[in-house]
């Protein structure tokens, strides 16, 4: 191996190492929430009371569900992270999902196909726990059969 070849290989290795460090830092990881538990009475949707013009009944439905959320974050302990709640796209069209919490996670709202920040800061525990009370509003004209909403959590690690 010539000196030039050796230097070239070292530079290449350094380049890859530097690139990889940047990639890992900016990466988004799925968060294991298998210990989370939605309470009974899931997704019971009720017609909304009308507002506005007399005789115009609303076509929107509202449902509420509490989820005991347990996020396994031990893989990122002692690091800074931003955790997001994501809602997969649905065939239900415009859908409004908002939630309140008991304070460990952030309240907020999310639209289908998007994500919303629920935690930002140091990961100082193995499991992040909170109770999310979800309020879901759907278009009753589109909700003609039982449909599923898929939520997930993901983390951006610094």
């Amino acid at each position: 191996m010539t000196l030039a070849s050796f230097v070239s290989r070292c530079l290449l290795a350094l380049f890859f190492a530097a690139s990889c460090t940047t990639v890992v830092r900016a990466a988004t990881y799925p968060v294991d929430d298998r210990a989370s538990t939605p309470y009974a009475g899931i997704g019971k949707m009720q017609w909304d009371a009308p507002t506005g013009k007399r005789g115009a009944a609303p076509s929107t439905l509202t449902g509420r569900i509490a989820v005991q959320t347990r996020l396994d974050v031990r893989a990122w302990k002692h690091r800074m992270g931003r955790i997001y709640l994501t809602l997969q796209n649905t065939p239900l069209g415009p859908l409004s999902t908002s939630w309140t919490t008991r304070g460990r996670l952030l309240p907020g709202s999310v639209r289908a196909g998007e994500r919303t920040l629920v935690y930002s800061g140091p990961i100082d525990t193995d499991v992040l726990e909170d109770e999310l009370l979800l309020t879901i509003k759907a278009d009753g004209r589109r909700l003609v059969r039982t449909e599923q909403l898929d939520f997930s959590f993901e983390i951006d690690v610094n």
Partner: protein
């Protein structure tokens, strides 16, 4: 419930995630890592099932019952009252062709939609209700079924088509949703209720008084029905 992700497997990043150790690894290891990445990207965590709204019909003719109002999220109640609409034609006026206004024993003035004072009983009879079901399509049909004739205890008759009604409502403009008409004797459609809508009108009945029947009290019952497929 849960995804079973490998927490070390990133979902996305600025560029595809690469483990530095893989650079020196055989191609098989790299392929496995890329497959794991693809699988992790489509998994989801908890799922919420949404059920469609319940299908509902409600019809109120004359006196009805409701806990609260529709706009406040109230619940329709059953009311077994059968209201009576009547007129006594003075002997001197029988058959003179001057329509006789009828009156009722209804006391229903407010709309259960929102508690608004919509009708003026006893002259006006409230007719209203709602229909809704999940989906974009679907209508409900409001019909009235009357016998061919009113009858008295002696068996004399007056054709039911001598009775008509006008339609209005406090604050209403334009066409009424349950319009004016005349009983045909038989089943007739009065209105079609669109999906997810509340419809109401106040009906004022009259007797045509164009014939001279035998003296007596003539009665007949009309049944209103709201139905949907």
């Amino acid at each position: 419930m849960g995804s079973g992700h490998d927490p070390a497997t990133p979902l996305r990043s600025g560029t595809p995630p690469v483990n530095t150790n893989l650079l020196a690894a055989p191609p098989r290891r790299l392929a496995l890592a890329l497959l794991a990445f693809g699988w992790a990207g489509i998994a989801s965590a908890f799922t919420v099932s949404l059920t469609p709204g319940t299908r509902a019909l409600y019809l109120d003719v004359g006196n009805g019952s409701y806990s609260g109002t529709y706009t406040s999220g109230g619940t329709p109640q059953n009311n077994s009252t059968i209201n009576v609409v009547s007129v006594t034609v003075p002997a001197a006026a029988v058959g003179n062709g001057v329509a006789q206004a009828m009156t009722s024993n209804s006391t229903q003035s407010t709309s259960y939609y929102d508690g608004f004072a919509f009708c003026s009983p006893p002259a006006q009879v409230y007719v209203g209700g709602f229909y809704r079901q999940p989906g974009l399509t679907g209508t409900a049909s409001l019909t009235a079924t009357a016998p061919t004739s009113l009858t008295n205890p002696s068996g004399d008759t007056i054709p039911f088509n001598r009775i008509s009604w006008t339609s209005t409502g406090a604050g209403d403009t334009g066409a009424e949703v349950i319009p004016a008409g005349t009983f045909t004797g038989g089943t007739q459609t009065l209105a079609t209720f669109g999906n997810n809508s509340w419809n109401e009108s106040c009906h004022t009945f009259s007797y045509a008084n164009t014939t001279t029947p035998a003296a007596g009290t003539y009665t007949g019952r009309v049944t209103y029905t709201l139905s949907a497929p």
